[in-house]
Structures are given as structure tokens and as C-alpha cells.
Symmetry: C2
Subunit: 608 residues, 2 copies
Amino acid sequence: MILKRWLVGDPLKTAQARHERLSKTIALPIFSSNAISSVAYGTEEILLVLVLAGTAAVAWSIPVSLAILFLVLVLTISYRQIIHEYPEGGGAYIVARTNLGENPALVAAAALMIDYVLTVAVSVAAGIAALTSAIPSLFVHREALGLIAIVFMVLVNLRGVRESGTFFAIPTYFAIGALGLLVTVGTLHSFSTPSVTPSPTNPEIPGKAMESLTLFLILRSFAAGCSAVTGMEVISNGVKAFRHPESKNAATTMIWMSVILASLFMGVSWMAYHYGILPKVDETIMSQLARLTFGTGVVYYTIQIATMALLVLAANSAFAGFPHLASILARDGFMPHQMATFGDRLVFSNGIIILGFFACLLLVIFQGDTHALIPLYAIGVFVSFTLSQSGMVKRWLVKKGAHWRKKLAINGIGAVTTGIATVIIASTKFMQGAWIVFLLVAILILIFQGIRSHYRAVSEQITLDRRGSRPPLPRRNIVVIPVSGVNRAVVRALDYARSRPGEIRAVYVDLDPEESAKVKIQWAQWGGGVNLIAISSPYRSVLGSLLEYVEEILEKEPNTWVTVVIPEILPARWWQSILHNQRALMLKAALLFKERVIITDVPFHLTR
Amino acid sequence: MILKRWLVGDPLKTAQARHERLSKTIALPIFSSNAISSVAYGTEEILLVLVLAGTAAVAWSIPVSLAILFLVLVLTISYRQIIHEYPEGGGAYIVARTNLGENPALVAAAALMIDYVLTVAVSVAAGIAALTSAIPSLFVHREALGLIAIVFMVLVNLRGVRESGTFFAIPTYFAIGALGLLVTVGTLHSFSTPSVTPSPTNPEIPGKAMESLTLFLILRSFAAGCSAVTGMEVISNGVKAFRHPESKNAATTMIWMSVILASLFMGVSWMAYHYGILPKVDETIMSQLARLTFGTGVVYYTIQIATMALLVLAANSAFAGFPHLASILARDGFMPHQMATFGDRLVFSNGIIILGFFACLLLVIFQGDTHALIPLYAIGVFVSFTLSQSGMVKRWLVKKGAHWRKKLAINGIGAVTTGIATVIIASTKFMQGAWIVFLLVAILILIFQGIRSHYRAVSEQITLDRRGSRPPLPRRNIVVIPVSGVNRAVVRALDYARSRPGEIRAVYVDLDPEESAKVKIQWAQWGGGVNLIAISSPYRSVLGSLLEYVEEILEKEPNTWVTVVIPEILPARWWQSILHNQRALMLKAALLFKERVIITDVPFHLTR
């Protein structure tokens, strides 16, 4: 408990929950770190696929990047419509549930939950890669560094990031500035230098093709590059957090974000192509570009630190999104109730811990390697993109309203474009790991449904009869007191029982005739007139014999409560309990599952 | 539970406990496997020390073995007197307690407990060494093999070895026969062959001395060889198990055992000396002797298997001794009560499991190496030997009786001899690990005393006043029902409470005003006239607010019981409980530690 207080801080009152409204300049960094940080690995993932067909194939990175640019454009326009239509926040789950029904909504929810976990794992892995590119000696420790980063984020988020606004704004602007400087200087410089054909000196990169340059390979590189648009949906979830007019401000911020993302991404792709940069195992493309442009000096290190900070903030954004989604699902009965409960720091503690756990698990399984995680990534995001856009299409068809044909066309293009991208991603990445995501989505949906059907069954069973007839109860009450010996604890329990109505039966389990005779004599003095029933126990199990006795009463007397009054001796210090039999505890646990048995615990506290 | 039944068998009735009396021919193998098995490593340990002073020094093994032979003689004569004096069984703890007082008895008990653990570890390690000498490819697996052997013994002993007599007799006689054959053939053969000076071909054995042949080294080799007399006390613990006349039969068996032990041990020492056998890392002396005498054939393998079987039975004997000693200590209040309770197979299950656990721990720490364990071994046995003999000396001085001077002289010689041996063992082995044993003895004694003082404190606190005044009890009773909502479970608990006397207060923790209003309306219909008290909870902790409310009552009303009636919803399947808040469980746990609070659990069982 003390450790917990120190780590996560004192509890906060409900009244302390602030509903801070964000200006556009503060909202931009908060909501865009996830999307913009994708620049750090998007281009690299495209090149990693293309280079399989030899160094000549990397020129295809430019058309692939342009295709992704088109995706950014389509997503920006179509998400602006969602922002205007759902000012309360329009996540894929909500849009799908309100327009498409329950099953598509659960698919969206499952896909999103998986992608939140992947966002943390991928962003942290990429952030650590930015660090180890600058300090190569840390490369062997990347897994441990990633785990430390995640644990740190879990703790920070359990405390609750109240002062999130400026706290997040500064490093994000700093990173955008640093990356902007790199892209601007690098691109301007590229116009005055001749283009470089990549000549691999690094033996990791094969000079000749390992695979031939097929359409499939190009689509695969497009699918890998789609990781660059992940996070674009974030603003649409958080419209409520903007200042009035919420939707308008959010839509404007969305455009700013897209412009920054698009220019940084295209700049990096262009520079990589122009300078003939190829991926390396232990250094990122971004690091190579920064080194080439500014040399290994202060500016280079600044860019690496800024990139890392941006990626960590991107990972951190999932710690707000995942628990929030889990709490919505919990309120709808698809996740355990506990996920919907605020912790004592006004955050959804359970969701934060679960996200941290699974992200750590992924990082360990994939050994902290961004490239190994990428095949799993993006698929969930694109499934939810497609479901959101399809939901909006359905909405305009049903609701119509002003300019509905134009709106339908925009979301229609969005749905088709993201649908095609989803099919490309799913088919090209399927064998490399996307199948795991599909399998997990299916399992998650089964879990969601199982949980809901359990809650429904519970609710049906505990709901009272509307017509007001009270459930019938047993009439009589037999009180059973297990007696282990004649002592203060037992006499206290007996006296408590005697002060209440009901037929009392003190029961003694006879293990040793000598001891038994002694107890009977003492009982005559202390038993207060209650009859002591001695039962034999051929197998020396006090617990078993008592349970049998209670069961016998239950069987013989169908219309009777059996109240078992347990005298429980509690040691003064917890560790002393290993010196005691724990019979009271085991008896309580066993009796709990018997119908018509009431357990009454009369504790007797030792003081030393 | 099913697994347990399958592994350890169905419970047995108390009445099934048999008090089988043993004939001398059956008692001999049962009680002597421990002592005789020491032959397998005794000589080897002597040589291992001497060889440090070069191969020439190993000739000293003969005088050292003769000194140990003298010890066997003294122990036999003096233990026969204990057998006659304690027909109920005269373990070191009992002899020390009745004659020397509590503290020496606790020293003996602690020393014995440690030595039981070591007996298991050393015997198993030596048994596995016999196996791996014959099958060298198993050498790397010796640790795992040892652990498997111990786990197997734990399971066998948890079942209870009722048919112990013949079950143990056959392999022990078989092993005595096999070792006897080896010693007889080998010794006879030695008279017709010239003595061999050891010329080490094995590079592990240094040709020249690493240490000089000092008196200290010879004493160290004597101390190492003392491991050969461990187990000689076993018969004196079990006199009760012999047929009438118990003491006479036990004393005769003691002589048989000593003769077998002495001749096998001297035979092995002589042969090793005569044939110039030196210790090897991966083959035991016994294996080398058997190979030399019979060649690597059927006879050789038979001898190895017999040796292993004997050692395993020796280890197994500790599984009877340790739990028995622990149960005696528990009855005297020095160990937890649970140690004195028969398990459902009529064995002291807790003691068996604890012994197995610590033996496994030792085996892992010392990597299954007999030689590494030996420095810890024997010291405990010799401490208890000395305490037994000193106890007898004191006894004769106090009690006197017929021939007391002669008896005093015999036990006096015993006490002095074992005392000297103890000092030698302790001083020569101290730095090699005997200090651990001394430290553990001290810690164990503190634990024994701590446990007893706890039990005494408990007993004082729960014992009723002799003069018969009943402890005063609170007069009033306030019944508190925590209400989470209006449902069948809550109504059931409420109706139970209403059927009993006492002022009822239904308490609802207000987290959400909307939900709260709904509950109040429903309560009006279902509350049966009981007032519903809504309490606010600024930190959203239902548990915390309820506890505070109960504490308030306790403070305001000093002469009142607070009975908390908890409506507990129990899921149909255990795993479903992760979907529920466990609030009832946590509330019960927290309330348990409050004075004057009675916890009454009204379970409501879901059926699906």
C-alpha cells in the first residue's frame, strides 16, 4: 500500500476531475503525436520490402509514398465529416455500433484493442531504435530499455496525467520542429546535389535481388508503408476535449495534422530516395538522414532525442485510448465491470495495467524489433477505418439530411479506399503474421460475447419479480457452532448466538477420546445449557465431518436456514497465521457454496 | 483434488492404523539401511582428504578407518544401554529432554532435523553417483535424477508405506549380500596379490602433494570418514516397533547391524588401500572396486544397482524419522500444530513435504555432488550422539540403580568419545561449511522458542477465567447491510436480517446520482420498511466508505455489536468470478480485523 501511494500518488476526489477544454494549439500536439510519429518508421518499412528485389527497386518508394499520401488526403476529408457528425467523440466502435449494428462494432472494438497494444509496442520499439542509432552500444539492451519505458508509462498513467496539456505540447512541437528542420534542410540541399544510386557497402543488404520485383512486392511495400497513417483517427475520438466550437476546431486541427504528417513523410521518402539511403539493422533511416545532413553533432543528437520523445508520447497516447475504449465496452457489458471503474487517481487503472502487460509481452516475444512487429500492425487500424467509413455511408443513406449526397460520396470514397488498403494489407501480410491479428479478433469477439451473456444471465437471475412477490425464504433457523475446545473465542461466539433466536447446536469433532472427555466436562460449566453434540471422524478430517453434519441438516430440514457461527481466532500479526490451522478459513470457503447456509463469523482478536 | 487422490491414494480411517510388530530379521533391514549405506561413501571421503597430501598419504586410510571402527564399537555398546533404558524409543531429543533439560533437547532436535535433511540429500546424491558410475552418460543429469528420486520418495511416503516390512527387507538384504560378496571375494583375492602403490593415471589426482601431511589433515580425513557411522542411532528410536521382548530384540539387532557395518566398511577400506584405488570425479570407489574384482559384467552392474537401492532406502528412512520428530516437537509446542496432525493417509504429510522440499533445495544448491554435501553432514549426528550419551551419564548419576557405576562408565566413555569426535568434526569442517550447520541450529532453536512463546501467549489469551466469570459482551446489536442495488441477493439478505432481532441499517454508497435515485425508488418497494442510508464517497471507494461508516458506529456506540450482513452473489463457475468485483470478499477481509464486528454472509448462488 505504501509502495502504491509512493508510485501512483494519493487518491483524488471525484470532484477533482477537471474537464479542461483544449485550444487548437494545445490539442494539435496531444492528438497528433501518434500520427506524426509514424514518420519515424513509415519510409523505412517501405524500403525494407523493396530492397528485397535489389537496390534498383528502391526507386519504387516514391510512387508507393505518393499512394500513401493519397490515403492521407482521403482520410483527412472523410474523418472531418465524422468529426462534424459525432461531436461527442466518434471512435470506430461507436460509429459502427450506431450505424452498422453489434457485430461490426465488436469487430471494430477488437481490432482497435489489438492495435492499441501494437501502437505501444511499435512506438516504443521505434523510439528505442532512435536511441540506439545514436548510441550503438545500447543496441543489445533494446528489449530491456523498451520494457523499462513501458513500465514507466504505466506508472505515469496510473498517477493520471492531469497536467497533460503543456506537458505534452512542448516535446511534440520540439519534435515537429526538429524533424521539420531535417526535412527542410535536407530537401533544399537535395536540389543542388546529384541523385545518388544506392551502392550497398553494408553486407546485410544484398546487391542483387533475392526476390523479383513483382506487383505483389510493391503492394507489400505499400502495406508496410500504411503504418505511416496509423493514428489519424485519434482526433475524431476526442472532439469533446476541444474548446467551443468543438467540431470546427477539431476539423481545423485535423487539417494541420495531416499537412504536417504529409510533408514530413514525403520529405523523408524523397530524401531517402535522393541520397540513396538503404535500411540498416542497427541504424534507422531517420538517423542516417540526420547524420548525412548535419553530421554527427549536436543537431544530429537533438533530432534523435526529439524523435524518441515523439514516439514515446505516441505510445503514451494509447494509454488514454485503450482504457477509454475498454470502459465503453465494459459499460455495454462486453468487458468486466471493473474496467469501467475509475481508480483512486481518477484513471481507469485496470485498463492501463492490462495494456502495459500485453505491450510488454509483445515486446518480449518480438525481442524489441520494430520490423518484426510491423506485419501485425496497421491491419487493425485499417479494419476500423473501413468500418467507420462504411458506418458513415450507411448513416447518410438512412439519415439523409442536407448535402447528404456529397457527404455520402466523400465517405464512400473513404470506405472504398480504406477497404482496398485493408484487403492489400491483409493479403500481403497474412502469412507474415496478420493471421495472428485475425485470430485474435475472433477470440476477442467470442470473449466479448461470452462476458455479455454471463452478465445477462446474472441480471436475469438476480432481478426481482416486477409484480412484487418476494422470493420465499426458509422459515426456521438452526444455528450450528463448531467447537474446537472450550475457550474464550468459542464462549464469545456461543454467547453471541444465544443472544439471537434459533435452535443452537454446538458441534464437537471427536478425534481423541481423552481430549473429548475434557471438553465435555468444561462444556458442562461453560456451555450455557446448550447441548454439545460430539460427532466422530473416521478420517480425522474436522472440516469434512462438520460439512457432512451441515449437509445432513440441510437434507433433513428443507425449510430451514443453517446459520454456522464460526468462532475465529485471529492472530495479532499476519505471519503468525502460519502457526494456526486456517480451519475457520477453509470452513467458510467450503460453506459458501451451500444453498441455505448463512456464515456468521465471530472474530476473536489476539493482542500479542 | 483428483490429482492428489491419484498420487497419494484415498484417505484411510484412523482405525486402519496398524501397529505391526517386527521380528529381528525384518527389523534389521528396516533400521539398518541408513547406517550400512554409509559404506558407499565413507571410505571415499577419507581418501579424498588424504590424497590432498599426495598419493603416498593414502596409506593413512587404514589407521583412520580403524579409529572409526573404534567409534562403531563404542556407539554399539553405549546405545544398547539407551535401548534398554528407553523401551518407548530413546531419540536424542527425548533423552536430552528427560535428563538434561529443555535447551540441550532443542539443540539435539535442531541438529537432528538438519541431519535428516542431509541424510536425504547425501544418500540420494551417493545413490545417483552409484548409478552414474555404471552409466557415465547419465553423469550430466545427476541433479535432475536426484530431484526425481526425492519427489518420488515424497509421493510414496505421502501414500504411507504400510507394507514396509518385507517391502524394505528384500532390497536391503540383497544389497548387503551384494556388498558382502564384493568385500569377501575382493579381500580373499587381496591375500594372493601384491599390494599396489597408487600411480595416478587420472590427471584429476595430483601426483605430488598439494598440502603437507599434517595432523590436521589426518583429523580432517577422520572427520570425513565419520559420515560412515551416521544412522547408527536409528534402532534406539524405534525400540517400540520390535516384538516382545522389545529391548532385548532391539539390542541384538543393534549388534548384527554393527557387525555388518564394521566388516563392510573395513573390507572396503582395506581393498581400496591394497589395490591402490584413488577417488575419481565421475566414478565412485565402490564402482572401481567392483569393476576391478568382477570386471564390467553382470555382477558389477548388480552391485551398482544394489548400492543405489540401499542408498535410496537410507534416504527413505529419513521420511519416517523427520516427520516423527517434527510431530513430537509440535506436541511439545515447538513446531506448528499442523506438524502433529496425521494426514488422510495416516502419515504426517506436512513433515514429509517439508523434508522433501529442503532436501531438493540442498541438492540444487550443491548440484547433486556428494562430496560437496559431506562437510555439512555428520556434525548434527555427532552433536546428538554426544547429547544422548551425556544425558545417559546424567541419568545414571541421578537415578543410580543396579550396576549404575558400570553403566555410567560405558555411557561416560561414549560421551567422551563422541564428544571428542564432535570437536574434531566441528573444528576441521568448520570453514568448509560446518559453520552453516551451527548457524542453522541457532536459528532453528530461536524458531522453536518463538513458536512456543506464541502458543503460550495464545493459550493465555483464550483460556477462560477459572472462577467462572463469563467475559462481558456488548448488549445491543446494530445490523448493517451494504446495498449495491436492489436485487434478489440483497432482498434475500435483508429478509434474513429482518427475521432476527437488532436495529437494521441498509447502507448504499452513492457514486452516481442517477443510479442512486433509481435505487431509492426501488428500495421504497422492496426495502420492507428498512431505512436506506445513502453515504457519499468522494474517492469512489465503495469499500472505504462502508468501512468508515462501520467504524463510526463502533466509535459512537461502545457497547454494541455491529453485525454486517453481506449479500454475496456467487457465480456458478469459479472462473466467472473474475467478471465480478470481489467486493464482498474484500469487505469480509477488511471487517475481520475489527473488534465487535460480526460478519454474516448470506450467499446467493447463481445457477448459470
